[in-house]
Symmetry: C2
Subunit: 303 residues, 2 copies
């Protein structure tokens, strides 16, 4: 089977596995499924959860699209007219309880063809990262340790490399702080002398397979913790930073918006309830300030 | 007095006039004032109101900045190294009651100089526009009639021209709808054969002087109307669109974020409480749907 078919099959199964598990943890609501078609070719299967007991809002979406590479993407990739195929799974989960972190993950595969339909380029990309509102160091270490284990099975240099890329990518430049406490981010994973596309497939699906183990134990541990209205306000204010990152800096989001993607599937990443308070500053020596310090100075969690 | 000094004096006075009036209407809270300096030259006076009886959040900010034109602005204006001076007043008011529209206004003046300090270009820009959550046609007509009157005193072509520019500018392209029901938007107002910079000054300040008359009567008329939780939800969902426009499309905001402006003064425009609900669609024949139809098909209010 071709890599693209293997991978498309993989993300379909992974979507099932993840949504089944998330529904089980939530216990009260089910994902709503929306199938959509892209007029220029392909489509997707979005699964959205809202107003759950544990998950206030989230989406676990897959898509597989193809056709002529849109002009905006030609400029982006620095290529001329070409055809493309792209498929991937994107997920964001926004828990209700501020003690449970928001999580984001994405695994994707891309092919480009010349005018004769010959494959001229292909690569994988993706990653997974955590955005806490209250920092439990052991949760951060757990998440990173699972990320590292998945990496180490393929290359002991990967974790340090992709952890750094993640910190760099999810940097909310206008706020001088990270969106969250990171994880993994990789892109343009192409065949080379010492790594075939099949090797990359094995690595990317290893990370995909690690997702539930990286995230779900944290949810189970924190979902029933008590919290105050003030802690909920802090969560909603921090969610504002999440919105700022996604709308101002995130290439995936802007890309989708500018290439006429399915808006509701792209913007499912935005949190349900959000606040913007003028010049909000946490109290000295508070838990909120402690989180900010770590976001301003990304940490090594695996030392 | 030079135009730049005249205009800077004007916006300082206008800030006082507007904040005094807004405080009087609100009746419960006062603006907080923050003076700030720009390391590269100049600074501003931000005035922020929060948690009022009528106004949930808002800012009426002035700034006057100068120095070397940042590189990102060189590219934007298509010029080489230059010095600049810019001053202006920016305001956004987010009322609590969903029956009262959000309002935005901005009046600004820009000068550019060559390396010898010679003035090489100068222009005015600005406008004012209304974003209702429930559409009262008489309010839209009132707002536009005051805009038109201010325009007509200077040129009977201005209203149609700047009303159109406003509809075009505040177009939330990825949603295929306008941010609000418009008003006026103008930019690069430069001296020409039949209009001096002093003429433009007179026009721009005419619009500035019209602001309170355009907006305040609407606030007074609607601020005590009853509303339901569902109507409040709708307001918060629509505020999400406001955020999307400001962070994805608004040149002023992106400009500020990318040129190291004062973040809290730029992002004071973001509403206090916001919601994103997946694939939200108003009920058929509802007031909410009626608003959407008008936003999707900008109307002429002065026919």
């Amino acid at each position: 089977m071709e890599i693209k078919d293997q991978f498309y099959q993989y993300i379909q199964q992974l979507q099932d596995t993840i949504t089944t598990k998330v529904e089980k943890i939530d216990g009260t609501v089910k994902f709503r499924e929306d199938l959509w078609e892209r007029p220029e070719g392909g489509g997707g299967r979005s699964r959205i959860i809202e107003n759950g007991n544990v998950f206030e809002k989230g989406g676990v979406n897959i898509s597989a699209v193809h056709g002529a590479l849109p002009q905006s993407m030609q400029a982006y990739f620095g290529v001329q007219e070409a055809d493309f195929f792209a498929c991937g799974l994107s997920l964001v989960l926004h828990p209700k309880n501020p003690m449970v972190p928001t999580v984001h993950a994405n695994w994707r595969y891309f092919e480009m063809y010349d005018k004769k339909g010959q494959l001229v380029d292909q690569w994988f990309g993706g990653g997974q990262d955590l955005t806490p509102y209250y920092l439990f160091e052991e949760d951060a270490m757990h998440f990173h340790s699972i990320c590292k284990r998945a990496c180490d099975l393929h290359d002991t240099d990967f974790y340090a490399l992709y952890k750094k890329k993640c910190d760099d990518y999810f940097w909310n430049a206008h706020r001088n702080e990270a969106r969250g406490i990171g994880g993994l981010f990789f892109d343009y994973c192409k065949a080379s002398e010492n790594r075939s596309m099949q090797d990359w497939y094995n690595f990317v699906t290893e990370v995909g397979d690690s997702f539930l183990e990286a995230y779900i134990p944290i949810v189970i541990k924190r979902k029933n913790l008590e919290y105050t209205d003030k802690q909920r306000d802090w969560q909603e204010i921090r969610r504002g930073r999440y919105v700022e990152f996604n709308l101002v800096h995130d290439k995936g989001t802007l890309f989708g918006l500018k290439t006429n993607g399915r808006i509701e599937s792209i913007l499912m990443s935005l949190p349900p309830h959000v606040q913007w308070v003028y010049d909000h500053t946490p109290e000295t020596d508070s838990e909120e300030e402690r989180l900010l310090t770590v976001l301003q100075h990304p940490k090594e969690w695996m030392l």
